[in-house]
């Protein structure tokens, strides 16, 4: 996961590249694999959620997301996701 978070005038802009195959049901069937894709993404600062997305098989492979929230530089942003199989991943980044 790659995260870029920058604060300006009290607004934090985040660009994050998540790493996931995002195998939709159709493609998984063709490949003889189980479908698996990220179903929930959450970002937190100081333990409080600043972004929440429930997602489907229709997000592109290695999902790229952009979002904004009210915040300031120096704080730590944590982005986590969980996929259909229940696997999770999480990464922290400092807001510049």
């Amino acid at each position: 996961m790659r995260i870029k978070a920058k604060a300006k005038d009290g607004v934090v802009s985040v660009k994050a590249g998540l790493k996931h195959e995002m195998l939709s049901y159709d493609i998984a069937k063709k490949k003889g694999k189980d479908a698996n894709f990220i179903v929930f993404i959450e970002a937190k600062v100081d333990g409080k959620p600043v972004y929440e997305a429930s997602t489907s098989q229709f997000l592109s492979k290695n999902p790229f997301i952009k979002f904004k929230f009210k915040g300031e530089s120096g704080k730590e942003l944590e982005i986590s996701w969980i996929d259909l199989k229940g696997e999770t991943k999480s990464k922290k980044a400092k807001i510049k």
Partner: protein
């Protein structure tokens, strides 16, 4: 490492999810499992799958145009990666739909306190279709739509 961190919490909610996500966060895959299966009809220009999903997600299909700015390409050369973004001043909930894939719902966002609904994602579109974003602003629903022409389908081709 996450499992260890999680077990350390010692909360009763432990049994429900093995993820480092906030207990309060609404995971729509768990809360509304059926909305993700609402189908699009394989008929050109048919938006009924989208309308059904809007009703399921928001509890109503009374939606006005306006208030939301939606950005998506006129022509997507690669249907596997179609950049879509939307922006509005405030909302409690926003959802993205399309008519190009077997099912219509793409994603649902709850806007937390301090969140700013200025978001972007990249989506798959199997063929030319309409992308629709719907936002709940103080109980009223607003939408914006855009037809995206897809020259190379993105769901497996």
């Amino acid at each position: 490492m996450q499992r260890r961190k999680f077990l350390g919490l010692g909360l009763g909610v432990a049994a429900i999810s093995l993820a480092p996500v906030t207990a309060m966060a609404k995971n729509y895959r768990k809360e509304m499992p059926k909305v993700w299966s609402i189908k699009n009809k394989d008929v050109e220009n048919d938006l009924s799958g989208i309308n059904e999903a809007i009703k399921a997600v928001f509890g109503s299909d009374k939606v006005e145009d306006g208030n939301v700015k939606l950005k998506a390409p006129d022509i997507a050369e690669n249907g596997a990666v179609v950049p879509v973004s939307f922006k509005l001043e405030k909302a409690s909930k926003v959802a993205l739909f399309q008519s190009a894939n077997p099912e219509s719902l793409v994603a649902v966002w709850d806007i937390p306190e301090g969140g700013i609904p200025d978001y972007g994602v990249r989506i798959k579109m199997a063929k030319t279709g309409t992308v629709v974003v719907v936002a709940d602003v103080d109980g009223k629903l607003y939408k914006a739509s855009k037809v995206v022409k897809v020259t190379a389908g993105g769901c497996g081709g």
